[in-house]
Symmetry: C2
Subunit: 443 residues, 2 copies
């Protein structure tokens, strides 16, 4: 009997728990789900699974639970993983997370290897499925003797067409704060035709690319942070173009850029008197003073937004010119904007989310010497507010890889992300059973 | 015999040393100028003045020199003042600087008072003459029973009309790094007609005001950091408009904004491969990839710069489309831009700089009930590269106040900036002898 400990029972764990529960009877696993807040267990856990209340800052309790387990999954926010990782090292347990590999965890590599353990990070969707699906194509193209000339990859957490009923074609299906702060903290960086390019925050949402995906229509992508680090991760040395981005529906970025330009996404300072501010006051605080001009006119005038423009509909739909009180104390602009958007971009109970992923590889065909393009796209839609596409795409890779580890199918040791064939081949294959399918076109 | 110790003999000390030397024989002072680098003494010091090599990190030597002095002037970069201040506290010596009062020094207030000392900061031009000249007007208007409705104040370190021979109408007369980074580190903040306004960095150089000064023509002003802190400093509570800014010649800000938008003023990350970069490569790294378009076209296209625009002349004059090697290793964008500008905006030996200051006070005349405006402007031009307007306007207030302290004319104790009448009245009066004269107009 193997014991699986899942720490953290938030939004993205539903599919993970269901997957492991379904396999538990076959493989004789015992599953324990731990969270500080027992409310998170609601609707996620069946009878056979243990649910325990655990605060990871209660070191004794954390140690006890990790000692009792055979493998640990941390679904906590990324900043808490090191605490779990230290306890895992102490009791020699392997660890799986869906978050970016932090330098703290990377530095444990020698010790993890020495103890014969595996700390596997980035096992979600982005990061996770993006790595695996990209590496599968990259390695295949290379093995066929072709030369890769360009790699582009875009992912977006969006709303399914049947629930797409607002002018932004967007709702919060993931951490709202991250959406508001997207693009901040250093320029977007990538390489194009051998030239390194830097896009400052104030231009990120105006340097977009259009992408068409069959049956799902058109999307736009903006550059996502530092693409250059993927050159080593994906073994793309000497490939002249490497670009990663985030997907939205067309028009989103241009309208979002209004908030960026305004300074309304700034999270670095606290505004004065926010408790007495209305939405309109909030917007007005970034605009010139005028005795006559209404706030709306001032915004459109400052941002050069034409009367017939698409941005106007999006912006006005958010109600930012209303006299609604903000109702937050000592808030940053970003916090106020997030507060306004949370109301508007909220998922309804019947709403379905959608995850879209798209890769494009340019390569030189070794047999003909001709330039070719391969595109690969994946679209997964959620079932409802609990069984979301996000929960599926984050939870299933974690679940599948835990099964692979516990059944001896994966014998990797050390600190890793899923870029090696021994992980991605069986895992992507099994994901297809759950509707996570990539469609390729070569032309 | 009183001993005056001046630590730091950089650019802005010429007039200070000359002023104190001229008074030394009358008042029987001995002057010591200390710097780490003896080259700075060249041309600044006459026979009677002692020049010593001093590294302030040599604590023993620093202590010795401070112990020997009666009063200490620190003309070092602002970050070094606390080191000098600690030694001044130890040996109970008063301290004068031309830099912004730091929180570290402010926290010494109780101890400074207890020891009967004066630590007087912000005794330069901006900060310094700006405070004194503003407070003189503010207090006079209030004493006449009038009600202040608005306060605006602008200062600029520029180039004198006779040396103004480039399309930017600007040269570096002060720390180039600060010019490149101007406006960064938090939004500009001010209050206008009772509404607090925030301007993000990416809009600061597009929210300018035009200011005309008789005989000197037109200037443009952009918002300078947090104007709100001057409400308490200047006793302007309940005044609905308080705005401070920086002056340039018209057109500068719009052209400078091109670099801001491009990301070329970013100092937060190091660019790749800067040692092999040309000026053109540097600009190109922020622009879209194109097989056909020249870098120049890409820049103008991206920034919506028309063919007949004034920005083009400014930008092309800088030579940023040349194949000149940058020649810097591991440099940030801001460092590269500073490097390019330093060549172009360099003062020639015969160049004269110019300091411009302008205040505007709106008030309600108590006798008539009418709205009135008072403007007060000051323009000082330098004599040559050594006796600059900057050196004069920074050094003379320091020199004069040191004379006031040593002759018992000023008996203030504690940590202060020059906003009280006992400092500004005699000091501004004496400054007039040196051509630092404010011209007022009421209308």
């Amino acid at each position: 009997m193997k014991n699986i400990l899942i720490i953290g029972a938030g939004r993205s764990t539903t599919s993970l728990i269901h997957y492991l529960e379904a396999k538990a009877t076959i493989y004789k696993w015992s599953i324990t789900v731990a969270d500080k807040d027992p409310e998170f267990f609601n609707g996620k856990i069946s009878g056979a699974t243990n649910a325990i209340v655990l605060d990871i800052f209660d070191e004794e309790k954390l140690n006890q639970e990790i000692f009792r387990s055979d493998i640990v999954i941390s679904m906590l926010p990324a900043r808490f993983h090191p605490i779990v990782a230290i306890a895992c090292l102490k009791y020699a347990r392997s660890l799986v997370t869906a978050s970016y590999e932090s330098s703290e965890i990377r530095e444990m590599n020698t010790e993890v290897k020495a103890k014969g353990l595996l700390f596997l990070n980035e096992m979600g969707v982005d990061p996770g499925i993006d790595h695996m699906s990209a590496m599968r194509i990259i390695n295949r193209i290379k093995e066929q003797g072709n030369v890769i000339k360009g790699f582009e990859s875009f992912t977006g957490g969006l709303i399914a067409p049947e629930s797409d009923n607002n002018p932004w074609h967007y709702k919060f299906t993931w951490n709202p704060r991250n959406v508001v702060l997207a693009g901040q903290g250093g320029p977007a960086k990538f390489i194009q035709e051998g030239k390194i390019k830097y896009i400052p925050y104030n231009r990120v949402f105006r340097r977009t690319e259009l992408i068409d995906i069959e049956k799902y229509g058109r999307f736009e992508g903006y550059a996502n942070r530092d693409s250059m680090i993927y050159i080593d991760k994906y073994n793309l040395q000497d490939v002249p173009t490497v670009y990663r981005g985030t997907l939205r529906r067309p028009g989103y970025c241009r309208a979002w850029n209004v908030f960026v330009q305004l300074g309304a996404t700034d999270d670095t300072y606290i505004m004065d008197n926010t408790e007495n501010m209305t939405y309109k006051d909030f917007i007005n605080s970034f605009l010139y003073y005028s005795k006559e001009d209404p706030v709306k006119t001032k915004l459109y005038h400052t941002m050069h937004i034409d009367q017939d423009s698409d941005e106007r509909e999006k912006i006005e739909w958010l109600g930012i010119f209303d006299e609604t009180p903000v109702g937050l104390k000592n808030a940053t602009p970003a916090q106020i904007l997030e507060h306004i958007l949370k109301e508007k971009w909220k998922l309804s109970p019947e709403d379905r989310d959608m995850i879209v992923m798209w890769h494009k590889i340019d390569f030189e065909d070794s047999s003909t010497g001709k330039s070719k393009k391969l595109t690969s796209s994946m679209v997964v839609t959620g079932e409802n507010q609990l069984n979301t596409a996000m929960a599926k795409c984050v939870g299933l890779p974690v679940g599948i890889v835990v099964k692979m580890i516990l059944t001896g199918q994966l014998n990797l040791k050390g600190v890793h992300i899923p870029t090696s064939k021994e992980i991605y081949e069986p895992l992507l294959k099994e994901l297809e059973e759950f509707g996570v399918i990539f469609n390729e076109t070569v032309y």
